[in-house]
Structure formats: structure tokens, C-alpha cells
Amino acid sequence: MSAAIELAAGVSGSLGSIGYGLAAIGPGIGVGIIFGNGTQALARQPEAAGLIRANQILGFAFCEALALIGIVMPFVFGK
């Protein structure tokens, strides 16, 4: 365990990019689920296309916002 901590302390450079990579995992999964299920819903019930598309885009925006906040945060907190 202490060896791992020592190793982690030695890491330097552009850590923000690694952090953003981690932050993008969740929204990536979320967007995938939304569009996957949205397409399925469209295939099952094509007549509800308008309603499904509106909710799909809404869900997409909710998820995507998390990834975008990840982009902005390094600028807020600086170096």
C-alpha cells in the first residue's frame, strides 16, 4: 500500500487530462444508455417519435453537462 502511495506521489505532469478521462466515463455510459434505449423505443413505437426524441435530447443534455463541467473545472480551479 505504501509503495503504491509512493508511486502515486511520483506522478507528475498533466494530471488534469487523466482526471478528465475519468470524468468522461460516466457521461459516456449515460449517453450510450439514452440513445440505445431511445432507438429501441423508436423501433417499438414509431408513432411516438416526437415525444421520444424530445426526451432523448433532454436526457442527452443532462448527461453531457457532466462531461462539460469536467472540461470547465480545470479553468476554474487553475493550476
Binding site: 435530447i57 433532454l58 443534455a61 453537462a65 462539460l68 472540461i71
Partner: protein, 272 residues
Amino acid sequence: MSADQTQLAFDWSCRILSDNGCGFPAPGLHSFLFEPLATIGGFEFNKVMLLALITTLLVVAFFWAAFGKAKVVPGKLQMIGEAGYDFVRRSIVYETLGKREGEKWVPLMVSLFFFIWIMNIWSVIPLAQFPVSSVIAFPAVLAAIVWLVWVGLTFKRHGFVGFFKNITGYDKSLGWVLPLVMVIEFFSNLIVRPFTHAVRLFANMFAGHLMLVMFTVASWYLLNSWLIPAAGVSFVMTMFMIVFELFVQAVQAYVFVLLACSYIQGALAEHH
């Protein structure tokens, strides 16, 4: 911060493999700061404010020209205006608020939609090339307007006690978890909601502008000796990003207005 940096957002003479040994001039916060164009009595008037002003005039002038003298058989301009108005009315307001309640909110939502959309579109218009909504103040004020509207409406509809019941999601059937739910709902509705509402638009435009600037700067930076093909790739990416941004701009305006409508719907809903 030099005027050069804020105007051009990068060092003009900097190229890869050149002798002066400068690194890639990455875009950062300095791409969002502008030297004032004019100072009027201590008030600094910069490019962002100018664009916002033009946006306002443009939206007002367009709808004035389209509907100022509305005819039964519409002309070309009125046709476009009606198409835009009808799009917001049918696909956003009616879908969320319904026909009876929604009609009253159509004007607000139409103005919000077109104002935000045009503020976003400046991002890809030559010479302007800066999305006004990537400055947090603009989305923050718009979100504050929507917040005031729905909070006020909730008070008006439900009264003082009803307001808190509506905001905290009061529901007796939840039993012992009710206090916890109420606290979480209270904070998420009153404080987190307007924050994310503004930040969603802001962050989208901020990130989009950064990407555009990065690929544009990179296509210039790589334009040297054997790396010229790489500059070509970067230039193609710039073009691709412009098309993608056009899509994102429309989606963000749509989402902002859709969320505003769904908040108002929450205010109108009867609690049970």
C-alpha cells in the same frame, strides 16, 4: 496580458520546428477575454457586449419585420417567422405544458430560444467567431429570469405552504424517509437547478469555442516543412467541428427552453 494575445488568442509567429523554440500556444482562458473597444465613463464596452447588443437588435428587428404588419396570406419573411414561432410552440411548449396552459408562455419561450440560438451562432460567423453565451453572465441572467418566473408562479398557484410542498416534493406515503427527501429536493430544486441550467449552456459553448480555437491554432502552428499534411488534418477537423458546433448550438438553445418549460410545468402541476 497583451492586446495581441486577446485579439489573436495565440502567438502569430509561433510554428512547429521553427528556431525560436516556442511551444504550442494552447488556447485557454485568455481566449475569452477581450480588450475594451471603447470606454464610456469608466464602463468598458467590449466585443462580447457588442455581439449581445447586435443579437438583441437582430431578434427584435426580425420579428418586427415579420409580424409588424401581419397579413392573412404571409409574405416570405412572415413565413419564416411563423415557421420559427410554430416550431417553438408545437415541439417545445405544447409538448410540455399542453395547449391550454402553454399558450401564455409561447412569447417568452420564443424570445428565449431565438436570443440564445443567435448568441450561440456567433461562434462560427466570420469576424465575430465568439459565442456570447460562453461568458457565464449571459446564461446566468437568463437562468435567473426563468428561475424567478417559476418560483413566482409556484407561489401564485399554491400559496405559501403549497409552495414548500411543491418544492420539497411533499408526499406522506414516503413515511420515515420523507424529511431526507424533502431536504434533498429543496436544495436540488431551488439551488442546484438554476446553477445547472446556466452552466449547461455556458459549458457547452465554452468547450465548443475552445475546441474550435484549438484546431484553428493547430492548423496554423503545424503549417511548417514536412508537417503540412498534419496541418491539413487539423484544418479538416476545424471544418468538422464547425458543422458539429452548428448542431450543438441549436440543441443547446432547444434544451434551455425545453428545461425552462419543464420547470414551469412543475410549478403548474397540482401536488397530491
